[in-house]
């Protein structure tokens, strides 16, 4: 199973849209994809996919499972979003996850048991048989250090790093080194970087230099596509769906962006030896009636 967390130290670099569009790119090639976002907030991945209507409801949630107090079956947490992507929607109680996990740990220790607050998600996914059911697991943790990030990284161990192609972004990658180094020690795991993904790229010389300095693979550079991304948030869908359903005509540069996500997905799959069953021609989408454009 290909498993990775999209992670960026800085906010606002397209981490969530990168995760969403990669999920669709993997899924539309025939892979079974599970997305587990942990970044509950106004503009979270659940909102982007339009699956966040129950975020405040009194229901069984991932957090309940992580503290071993499930109110239902794991499978029932999963919602199917567009393109067959499975997702566990973010619930508002993710904001309390740190406290919940700490309390569970206290209670466990009071009776002489161990409870790893950083491996709660991994345990839940393992017990639910996720590696057997899915080809791809994507976590989208928040940018801040804490128990959500620890759980995401512990459950995936590989990173896809969206990077703002500026000096600030480059500094963020350096800062990430230290953070992850610390996490590797804390969690006793090996964390690897599958790719860095420069986003919002405008092609200036300064940006090109920054990208050239990144010492991780940079298989694709995502250009700034403000109108497209804004449209995605408005219509609550991926870029693939937006171009297919909400654009009156196909714009070359937007098709090019879709092609990049397709190729990026193939690159990531290739790194762990997964062959998608039906990889499409990069960027080619069917139009609304199901005929290829």
């Amino acid at each position: 199973m290909l498993s990775y967390s999209t992670y960026s130290e800085a906010g606002g670099v397209g981490k969530t849209t990168t995760a969403a569009n990669l999920a669709v790119a993997h899924a539309r090639a025939g892979l079974d994809v599970l997305v587990v976002p942990l970044d509950q907030q106004e503009g979270d991945l659940s909102r982007l996919f339009g699956v966040d209507e129950d975020r405040a409801a009194d229901i069984d949630t991932l957090a309940h499972h992580m503290i071993r107090r499930p109110k239902g079956e794991f499978e029932d947490l999963i919602v199917e979003a567009e393109h067959g992507v499975d997702i566990i929607p973010e619930h508002n109680n993710l904001g309390d996850l740190g406290d919940w996990l700490d309390r569970e740990k206290e209670q466990a220790e009071a009776v002489g048991e161990a409870f790893g607050v950083n491996s709660a998600l991994l345990r839940v996914l393992k017990d639910a048989g996720v590696p057997e059911e899915y080809d791809v697991l994507i976590c989208d943790p928040p940018a801040t250090e804490g128990v959500h990030l620890h759980n995401a990284i512990n459950a995936t161990r590989s990173l896809v790093i969206p990077v703002e192609a500026t000096a600030k972004g480059e500094a963020a990658v350096d800062g990430l080194e230290e953070l992850v180094g610390g996490l590797e020690e804390t969690l006793s795991v090996d964390i690897g970087v599958l790719a860095a993904v420069p986003t919002r790229f405008e092609g200036t010389n300064d940006q090109k230099e920054v990208v050239d300095e990144i010492e991780y693979p940079v298989p694709e550079i995502i250009r700034k596509r403000a109108s497209l991304m804004e449209g995605c948030w408005k219509k609550q869908c991926s870029a693939f769906s937006y171009v297919r359903d909400h654009r009156d005509r196909r714009r070359d540069h937007e098709m090019d962006t879709l092609a990049k996500f397709d190729r990026l997905a193939r690159f990531l799959e290739d790194r762990v030896g997964i062959a998608a069953p039906n990889p499409p021609e990069p960027g080619v989408i069917e139009d609304k009636e199901g005929v290829e454009a």
Binding site: S3, L122, T156, V180, V193, L194, N205, E213, E215, Y216
Partner: protein
Amino acid sequence: MTTMKDGPGSDPFSDDEDQDDGDEATTESKSEPEPETTETEMNTTEKYPYVLRRDTVKDERDNEHVAFLRDEFADLEQDIVSDVADELDMRVKDVSVTDIREAMVQVASENPERMAEVLLEWGYDAKQ
């Protein structure tokens, strides 16, 4: 400068919590289409040493090599960087792993006998 491994991390779902046996780690990866960076100027005058004349760490380095490594060798790279940084009295974060990988090629080219010894240690038969 990197301290994070390039390539997948350990398998979180393997039965033993240690690294999987037989994991391949690439030191450079294949990328299908070329990344869009192109027009950084190449200063090809031989006046200054490479590290001083270049603009970026990938300047003049157009060849991507993938290396398939056993676990112990993939892990060694971090130690190599750190030992070399010590020799140079520099911080690890200031020593480029990309430079190290190229320097390894040069060192190997200067030491064919030692290279052959290593292959023999791994089981190459000199009489093949």
